[in-house]
């Protein structure tokens, strides 16, 4: 009787969190983490979507309370330097940031990944030329490039997303390309071709499934980074329209007032950024690992 060899493999990306959490959950830690990730993402998304309903005050109204007031019954998260309610700012602060981040990731996936796949699979001098171009863009400091683009095209959600996407596309390209270059030499791709698979089938069924997990890793980093980049743009006034609340802006202002002992601005906005980035990471890594058959 043939018993299957169960190769129990550790998940490819064992994040520090996993190492910390595993004593608690043992074998189920992967599931637990993904569940946590889903909760975080739902929480942040839900909060952003329901902002008009659940926000106690108008986040842009200045002078609601004394400036830099610590958390109290009236303002559970305190106020910022303009006397605005931090709680409302936190609830509203996610909407546009998340929208920009998601749009940026979407643009990167639709542009960076196919170019990487096609270029690497085609190979030859064309591939090398494109790689050269991508490397040049990659070498640019991200914020500077984003600023350049926005100065030219103006401020809006789509432009912000585009600027961030342009900066990050080379990363997607590079990861996809390096994976494809090694995968396309594998005997199983050869076997697929000699089984009669045409180029679309080879790319879709042989190459792409083995590339996905690394793309997700990049997307994760991209997402978190775009939140911070948006904050950076806000600070210079090139991000979102000044009026709108944004965790990134609060984070930046929070840094300024921290020496004064005003901890609530930076802590709550920082926490929200952390939760969204982490939630997204955990969900996408959890997804990548679940689609990795080695863990079944």
């Amino acid at each position: 009787m043939n018993t299957p060899q169960k190769t129990r493999q550790k998940p490819q990306t064992v994040s520090v969190m996993a190492k910390l959490v595993s004593p608690l959950f043992g074998k189920g830690y992967g599931r637990a983490l993904m569940l946590a990730g889903i909760c975080m993402t739902l929480f942040v998304t839900g909060m952003s979507v329901l902002a008009p309903i659940i926000s106690p005050h108008d986040p842009t109204l200045i002078g609601l309370g004394p400036p830099n007031d610590p958390p109290s019954a009236q303002f559970p998260m305190g106020t910022d330097q303009y006397g605005r309610d931090m709680l409302s700012r936190i609830i509203w602060g996610g909407r546009f940031v998340l929208l920009v981040a998601v749009t940026a990731v979407a643009i990167c996936l639709t542009i960076g990944v196919p170019i990487g796949l096609a270029s690497a699979y085609a190979g030859g001098n064309v591939d090398r030329a494109i790689a050269l171009i991508m490397d040049s863009v990659y070498a640019f400091p991200s914020l500077v490039l984003a600023i350049m683009i926005i100065s030219v095209f103006g401020v809006s959600i789509i432009n912000d997303a585009l600027a961030i996407a342009v900066v990050f596309i080379p990363s997607y390209f590079r990861i996809v390309r390096s994976q494809v270059l090694s995968i396309k030499e594998m005997p199983y791709v050869d076997a697929g071709k000699s089984a009669g698979a045409g180029t679309p089938a080879v790319l879709l069924r042989y190459i792409w499934p083995n590339v996905i997990s690394s793309v997700i890793v990049v997307a994760t980093v991209n997402f978190a980074d775009s939140i911070l980049t948006t904050a950076g743009l806000d600070f210079i006034g090139l991000g979102l329209p000044v009026n709108l609340p944004d965790w990134g802006i609060d984070l930046t202002y929070g840094r300024q007032v921290l020496p004064l002992g005003v901890w609530w601005t930076i802590v709550f906005s920082g926490l929200m950024i952390l939760i969204s980035a982490l939630g997204f990471s955990l969900v996408s890594e959890g997804y990548a690992e679940r689609t990795n058959p080695k863990l079944r």
């Binding site: 043939n2 299957p4 060899q5 169960k6 190769t7 493999q9 001098n125 090398r128 030329a129 050269l132 594998m186 005997p187 199983y188 791709v189 050869d190 076997a191 697929g192 071709k193 000699s194 089984a195 009669g196 698979a197 045409g198 089938a201 069924r205 042989y206 499934p209 083995n210 058959p293 080695k294 079944r296």
Partner: protein
């Protein structure tokens, strides 16, 4: 009419150079002479062994005969058709008749595809069955290669199988569309020793049942002797000697063949003997020796050997050798 005829086959690979080197360097690219004038014939139903060490060109030759790599020069005729004069679409259809069994059972299966799907790939693209019938065919194939219960294996992934089981899957995939010709590239080299006999016997059984013609590529003379009825010995892209297995082992003509036979470790301590082993190692295929490629290491080298390339001569019926010790 022989099933497979290979005539003066050559395949050169240009050495990879960087973009800068290509643009700025004046010197032309160097070539790896992987296959450098190979000729032999294979009859239908033969298990024909291509034996050689690394750099001999056996794998490249095998791939060319299966239509997977285009030769730089030379002709490959399969069942009367010169396969490289076919148009691309015709060749694709012709490839239904020729399949490859790979060396490494792990990397020749897509890690993200189930066993059932993997076996079904050739049927999917090259087969005539409707997709509903496909599953039944795959189940039957799994049983034929000894993977039971087939339904359970269908849904598994390659990493859940042992090396021997994976190799069975690879064989099942190869025979799924009913090819006539199979190129088996080191099919047991990466399989556990105690499992090798199973796989070799499976191939031979399939060969008998499906009347396959098999080209067996291996560096292991013992495997070749067991499985093949004809063997060709290759060195640095050329055929040194070929003929019926019994003839080759009873009466090895070429000094290289003799050296190989002496060098193989025999699993029998009573047969220990003083060995005459040629010195040196296989030269680089970028710069093969002039004349006979084996001459720098040959214990019986003559003056002629460094100048003239020896041609294949039929020494006795069906037994060919390319060596100046056996002139026309």
């Amino acid at each position: 009419m022989p099933f497979l005829e290979v005539h003066d086959l050559k395949k050169f690979f240009p050495v990879q150079r960087s973009l800068i080197a290509q643009l700025f360097s004046g010197a032309s690219a160097q070539n790896v002479r992987a296959v450098d004038g190979v000729s032999f014939t294979v009859e239908k139903g033969d298990v024909f062994g291509l034996v050689g060490e690394s750099g001999s060109g056996k794998t490249t030759t095998g791939r060319i005969t299966a239509g997977l790599t285009k030769p730089t020069q030379g002709h490959v005729t399969v069942d009367g058709t010169e396969i490289f004069s076919l148009k691309k679409t015709e060749l694709r259809k012709f490839r239904k008749r020729m399949q490859l069994v790979y060396q490494d059972p792990l990397s020749s299966l897509n890690p993200k595809m189930t066993i059932g799907d993997a076996i079904g790939e050739p049927l999917r693209y090259l087969g005539d069955e409707k997709s509903s019938k496909r599953r039944d065919k795959i189940i039957k194939l799994l049983t034929d290669v000894g993977l039971s219960p087939p339904e359970s294996f269908y849904a598994r992934y390659p990493h859940q199988l042992s090396g021997g089981q994976r190799q069975r899957v690879v064989i099942a995939r190869a025979i799924s569309i009913g090819p006539e010709y199979l190129v088996a590239d080191e099919p047991v080299a990466m399989v556990d020793v105690s499992v090798r006999a199973q796989i070799m016997d499976l191939l031979l059984t399939m060969q008998r049942q499906l009347n396959l013609t098999i080209l067996l590529i291996t560096h292991d003379l013992a495997v070749a002797k067991y499985m093949c009825n004809k063997i060709a010995v290759m060195y640095l892209g050329k055929v040194m000697e070929y003929g019926k297995t019994e003839d080759l082992f009873k009466n090895p003509l070429h000094p290289y063949t003799q050296a190989l036979l002496q060098a193989v470790p025999i699993p029998d301590p009573r047969k220990r003997s003083e060995k005459k082993i040629p010195s040196g190692e296989i030269p680089s295929p970028l710069n093969p020796p002039k004349g006979c490629v084996f001459h720098p290491r040959c214990p019986m080298v003559l003056e002629r050997c460094s100048v003239d390339v020896p041609q294949l001569v039929e020494y006795e019926s069906g037994h060919f050798v390319a060596c100046h010790l056996y002139p026309r």
